[in-house]
Symmetry: C2
Subunit: 410 residues, 2 copies
């Protein structure tokens, strides 16, 4: 028997009417002979309402109690959806994170799942019952309510699918799948039928915010086939799974970009062991997340060191770096917060030479200067001036034939 | 060390500001060297909002899921109050019904408490922590969330006080204590400093809706001193406890009344064994609750049988009774839904003759006809025409000296 785990986000369960439609969808799967586990988020706006209450109560809400508070959002949804399923003649049972029990560590607000107890759920499924699970929440070993952080409902669904060895985990959202790039930038962007976990990870972390990155990692780790599809339109969505045999024919899955980046360079640093940690230490200690890092060895025994951070962290990072520069006797600090990162992503890159060259040629042809390059096994990222973002994405989308149906070989 | 359990109802925690004031009150008790457990209701309006959601979702919301839904109301309050306590430098920890664990039977919506596990709470109290408990909710042996029914937060508080062997259970509400009668009817009504459990039970069940009757039963059974006091005014409230040694001096604690009654009489019933159950059987089978029952043996081998029901049930009860009357060959069925019940309550009645006579004389002097009389150990109830309610209450209040400070002996 096929077992699927479905996840419906806040907009999919945003009103009583929409919850009714979710119930219809779930029932259709049950009538189709499938076993169904559903993970749901809070009704859209509810989590924000609860957080606003907490902030009205306290300037720094106690983390344990904040989790007690916000976890009620999903609890409301599981109850309402389960009622709706009963009304449709579909036997169902709701579970909070504590009831499952979804055991996590004790890091309130960003807890990590340790273990899921599935005995009761298996029994429900065997009895033909739909299991409705509160996303986003768990319980630590002392029985305290925890939450997995925003978007954690995706993680809940994937973790349930992994623990139950489900055939597929379906993430229902307000987009109908994963696209070759953002359709708001390139209207010719094409929905992908398939993408690998690794590609999806790079796409997600680079700014294509369809899925929580942790949930993709989780799915990849436990090899849970993950499908992204729309709550509101019919369609097959995009299947995220292990590399398939045809992957050699494909090169580029898509083009991701990150708009809120800023670049910092410390130039003419005396090149000696440990210099990287001297430069980055103060930045990470200030809780600033560093994205790309590039270092060139100079000819004169000095080195240039460049990295990117989120644009919000730019002023602080710049002042820290100037301090470091004086200490190290570096020549210069240069910063720019009007830059973006554009990345080609595709597992086929591994076995296909010339991708980078095609990328650089395409950008050169459009007169776009590359300020920084970073590569990995399945990705090439470049930093360019912000004003070239759309031009770069569109010309690369065309150069790699992404608007043609099916990936093509370059 | 003194251990108190406090309960704050929905209006006492109705806004963020009011929750802040509750936190102030609790902190004052802690600074006074007391150990405090607090049971709270949902913020006023919240339970109704959740029930409205359920009713919008489903015509007959699934009982288990309704409990999952409405129990979120108290969960929100415990989190907010605990945050507020932390902000005031008062260490505190919240507990849902499942976390305590407040074990109940599985009767969703009207569960009964079976057992409370207090180990964790004792440990918290020893560490000087305030324990904040979600009222109204529990968990059954299978881990399902249950609720105790509306007003169940009082029961939660009393049950916690009994289990923890607390020195006092304080019920904070929007009135400042228990009165000799309803001050809206008799402005001279006086707040009682003390009342016994038995008297309070009679007062509560007769319509003085200060406390949930189940919580008074519970408090009496486990001998938990119960104090009713106002969240909004300073004052000592009313202490409800076992009979004290001075009780012999008191006769009447107060005057209760029930406005929504209706009276039914089946007259001239052949008097034979089993006739009462033939008359009342169909009424109780129709789920109509019967209040007073009076039967007189007639001289001619027939009997008159009178009882009262809630006014809403009057038409149905009347039609059932007419059917029974025809079957039994009774003479007549008489009904009246414009009647009220007025009761004198007081443990002192047991040892004082003449109370009934004073009552009947007082009513006679005012020209009030008594339609029905029923007595118990600590109560005398009469049924009278509705139009005489205020007159009866006021003249009895005066006749028994209830507006004088301190109970007096008649």
């Amino acid at each position: 028997m096929t077992l699927i785990v479905q996840k419906y986000g806040g907009t999919s369960v945003g009103t009583i009417e929409k919850i009714g439609k979710v119930a219809d969808k779930v029932c259709a799967h049950v009538k189709n002979g499938e076993q169904v586990v559903v993970a749901v988020s809070a009704m859209s706006g509810e989590t924000n309402r609860l957080i606003a209450l907490a902030e009205e109560m306290s300037e720094q809400p106690h983390p344990r109690e904040l989790d007690v508070l916000v976890s009620t959002g999903e609890q409301v949804t599981i109850a309402l959806l389960t009622m709706a399923l009963h009304d449709r003649g579909c036997d169902a049972k709701s579970y909070t994170g504590s009831q499952i029990r979804m055991l996590t560590d004790s890091a309130h607000g960003k807890a990590r799942i340790r273990e899921i107890q599935c005995d009761a759920i298996h029994k429900d499924l065997e009895h033909g019952r739909v299991v409705v699970v509160a996303g986003f929440q768990g319980v630590d070993e002392h029985g305290n309510i925890t939450t997995l952080g925003r978007g954690g409902s995706d993680t809940t669904a994937v973790a349930m699918a992994a623990a139950l060895k489900a055939d597929e985990c379906q993430i229902y959202t307000d987009v109908d799948g994963v696209y070759t790039t953002d359709p708001r930038i390139e209207p010719k962007a094409r929905k992908l039928d398939k993408i690998t976990f690794e590609e999806m990870l790079e796409m997600a972390s680079l700014g294509s915010k369809v899925l929580q990155i942790r949930s993709v990692e989780f799915a990849g780790k436990y090899n849970v086939p993950l499908r992204v599809l729309s709550s509101f339109q019919e369609g097959e969505g995009t299947l995220i799974s292990l590399e398939d045999e045809n992957v050699e024919q494909a090169t580029i899955a898509g083009i991701a970009f990150a708009k809120d980046e800023a670049q910092l360079t410390i130039a003419g640093v005396p090149d000696r062991p440990g210099v990287a940690s001297l430069i980055l230490g103060p930045i990470t200690e200030a809780n600033i997340e560093i994205d790309m890092i590039v270092q060139n060895i100079g000819a004169d025994g000095s080195t240039d060191f460049t990295f990117t951070v989120h644009r919000n962290d730019f002023p602080k990072a710049l002042s820290l770096l100037e301090h470091t520069s004086a200490e190290l006797g570096a020549k210069q600090v240069i910063g720019d917060d009007q830059i973006v990162k554009v990345s080609l992503v595709g597992v086929g890159m591994r076995s296909h030479a010339g991708i980078a060259n095609t990328m650089f040629q395409t950008l050169a042809r459009e007169g776009i200067n590359i300020r920084m390059i970073s590569t990995s096994e399945i990705k090439i990222s470049v930093v360019i001036d912000q004003k070239y973002l759309e031009l770069a994405v569109r010309s690369l989308h065309e150069a790699f034939g992404l608007d043609v149906d099916g990936k093509i070989q370059k």
